[in-house]
């Protein structure tokens, strides 16, 4: 089998990785050298530029799962399902890192690891929903069922997230440090650049994971033909 066949998708992926890496380095420079120190929290506030974008990407990932799930149910294309699963896995990873970073930041800024305000509650519920999604796929007896049920869970869960946010907002109105209240333009730039840097990283990792699922499927298929 000619090696060039593998070079196609691999080449694209490497390009995305390179862009992600470059953006990350610029990102670090922005976070530590460019952005002014925030008055009330000091150095620790810089965690914001990593923590918030990773949470945002976690939510974006879930939106990707939602769209890919609908696409799958409508078209039944395996590539749609692979995208949904990959996005969910990488999204879970991003959310996990985000929650851990948030906890570290919270401990320094507020003295406590966690508070049940509307944003954190919704993020945590989303994390649980992701876990359920991945478990359903893992426990489904056939690949087709895993895809279908995953798609349903993806759609139902996504529609639930705004309602979860609404419920926790009614319960705990306002509050949480929204340092975003007074974001200077430099801070806003750093935040959005970080968001896009993580976005590219997310794209890279999702491509990687999705490619793995594809390879796994092809291996299974070939194995089945050799058994006959």
């Amino acid at each position: 089998m000619p090696a060039t066949k593998a070079a196609g998708p691999g080449g694209w992926r490497l390009a995305v990785l390179a862009v992600a890496g470059a953006m990350m380095l610029v990102n670090l420079w922005l976070i530590f050298a460019y952005v002014p120190t925030e008055v009330s929290m000091g150095v620790v506030q810089r965690i914001f530029y990593f923590h918030v974008p990773t949470v945002e990407i976690g939510f974006v990932a879930f939106f990707v799962v939602f769209v890919a799930s609908i696409w799958y149910l409508v078209s039944r294309k395996p590539s749609a399902d692979r995208l949904a699963q990959a996005a969910a896995e990488i999204g879970t990873m991003f959310l996990t890192v985000a929650i851990i970073m948030g906890a570290i930041w919270a401990k320094k800024a507020w003295g406590t690891w966690w508070i049940w305000d509307n944003k954190l509650t919704t993020t945590f519920v989303l994390w649980l929903i992701y876990a359920g999604y991945l478990m359903v796929r893992a426990y489904a007896p056939t690949r087709a069922q895993a895809a279908r049920w995953g798609a349903i869970i993806g759609i139902i869960s996504f529609l639930d997230v705004p309602i979860v946010y609404a419920a926790s907002s009614i319960l705990h109105p306002a509050e949480t440090l929204t340092t975003e209240g007074g974001l200077e333009p430099a801070m806003r730039l750093a935040h959005w650049f970080s968001f896009f840097a993580f976005g590219v990283l997310f794209v890279y990792m999702t491509m990687l994971r999705s490619g793995q699922h594809h390879d796994e499927e092809r291996i299974d298929e070939l194995r089945r033909t050799t058994i006959e």
């Binding site: 149910l73 519920v125 649980l128 929903i129 876990a131 359920g132 478990m135 359903v136 426990y139 489904a140 007896p141 087709a144 069922q145 279908r148 049920w149 798609a151 349903i152 869970i153 759609i155 139902i156 869960s157 529609l159 639930d160 309602i163 979860v164 609404a166 419920a167 926790s168 009614i170 319960l171």
Partner: protein
């Protein structure tokens, strides 16, 4: 009467008759609800001073966990006997099966909740019963059943059905639990409509969205 409605009622009647004969699920749920209330009594060291604070939460924790049991059993009978495929051949389509199972689970849960009202009166000396509570219970339980029926249909096909169902179900119905506890607390405090208005709207929104989405989704769950 439309065919859809006839099939829904037929399935409902079948399940109701089966349950009335054995009373298996109902008994399990009722005993479990009381057991949960008991555990929480000791967990929170409930006394007359804190009962107004923790009472509503305990009630809805009991109803939610008991609900999971009831929902779990919605399809177990058909799945284990292999009659699920036959059921799905029903003339009005899969939506009717969803409707029938939904009604069955809903009825069971409402009966258990009704049963718990005197239990709470005796054990905790809180008078849950009020029109606001009835409204809360109906709205919340419809939400539970709407989402739960779809998840039960998925979970019943897997090896880990007892674990998978709560894992899927509980995060999704979090808004319903929050709304139900808050309304119940508000009703107990005698706040009337102003206390429960937001929560009722939230539950209505939840119910409408998920009744529609779940009945559509059910088709896809039981395909092929």
């Amino acid at each position: 009467m439309s065919r859809y409605l006839r099939v829904v009622l037929a399935i409902y009647r079948k399940d109701a008759q089966l349950e009335a004969r054995t009373r298996e699920t109902f008994t399990a749920m009722a005993v479990f609800a009381i057991a949960v209330a008991l555990i929480f009594n000791f967990a929170f060291q409930v006394n007359p001073r804190n009962v107004a604070l923790v009472g509503p939460g305990i009630a809805w924790a009991a109803f939610t966990f008991t609900g999971v049991i009831g929902i779990n059993r919605a399809f177990i009978f058909e799945k284990d006997r292999g009659t699920l495929e036959g059921l799905l051949l029903a003339p009005a389509g899969r939506e009717a099966v969803y409707g029938g199972k939904l009604l069955g689970t809903l009825t069971l849960m409402l009966i258990v909740e009704a049963l718990m009202v005197p239990v709470f009166l005796v054990f905790y000396d809180i008078a849950l019963l009020s029109w606001w509570f009835v409204g809360t219970a109906v709205l919340a339980t419809v939400g539970f059943a709407a989402v739960g029926t779809v998840f039960a249909a998925i979970a019943v096909h897997t090896r880990a059905r007892e674990v998978l169902l709560p894992l899927l179900f509980l995060p999704i119905v979090m808004p319903v639990v929050v709304a139900a506890v808050s309304s119940t607390a508000s009703a107990l405090a005698g706040e009337g409509w102003s206390g429960v208005a937001r929560w009722f709207s939230l539950m209505v929104a939840f119910d409408v969205v998920f009744l529609v989405v779940s009945s559509l989704a059910f088709e896809f769950v039981v395909e092929e």
